[in-house]
């Protein structure tokens, strides 16, 4: 499965090993991990709750992976995204891409994250000392996705 949504944590070493294990053509592996910060918009973050839209999320992530494979000469890609309650420093998302050469792996990895940030139906709710609040989307995320 190129995409997974789970509450459990993930281990990048085993994920990378599994993705490239059976493919001796691979000469480059690029990866990205997004993690929970302890501060956002000047507020201390005690907890981050990630909600998603079951049914659509898997489909949206698979479409983004398919788009990456169509745009870049990569061999494989993996997206793991956690949902539920997370704490500062917890891992949120993992993207791994394999290709023959580094430029394609770097580009596809960045493309996957930029598209995920604007097209995959996840929402973050922050718990701060002042109460809970939904995270607002950033215009910079739209601009990052539009570059592709």
């Amino acid at each position: 499965m190129p995409v997974r949504i789970q509450t459990a944590d993930f281990d990048i070493a085993s994920e990378v090993a599994a993705l490239r294990a059976a493919d001796a053509r691979v000469g480059a592996v690029a990866s990205f991990i997004g993690t929970v910060r302890d501060v956002n918009d000047d507020a201390a973050i005690r907890k981050l709750t990630l909600e998603h839209y079951p049914g659509m999320t898997e489909k949206a992530l698979e479409a983004i992976v398919a788009e990456a494979k169509a745009r870049f000469p990569i061999y494989d890609a993996l997206v793991v995204h956690r949902v539920g309650e997370l704490k500062p420093q917890d891992q949120i998302v993992l993207v791994v891409v394999t290709s023959a050469h580094r430029a394609d792996a770097f580009d596809a990895c960045r493309f996957l994250m930029d598209y995920l940030k604007t097209r995959a139906p996840f929402w973050k709710k922050e718990a701060t000392p002042q109460g809970e609040r939904w995270v607002e989307a950033r215009a910079s995320d739209d601009e990052a996705a539009a570059r592709w």
């Binding site: 997004g34 990630l50 909600e51 998603h52 839209y53 049914g55 659509m56 489909k59 949206a60 479409a63 995204h81 949120i92 998302v93 994250m113 995920l116 940030k117 604007t118 097209r119 995959a120 139906p121 996840f122 929402w123 973050k124 709710k125 939904w134 995270v135 607002e136 989307a137």
Partner: protein, 82 residues
Amino acid sequence: MSASSISRACEAFASAGETLDVAADTSVGALLDRLRGRGGAFAVELAPGRAYRVAVNHVLSGPETIVRAGDEVAVFPPVTGG
């Protein structure tokens, strides 16, 4: 058509999701006009210049997409995953 319960969207629209009857050949744009016409949170959140997304049967869709009987339409604020 029906909508599912995404709490981010439910809180924004003060709605728990609902089943609506739509005429044949109703577009997403026409459906949004109908929702705006209710006033309240729908009029505010779907006002021109407000950012929102629409998915029909789990696929991001534009105003020209036609909604058919049995379709699931979700209207939600911009996503913030990653």
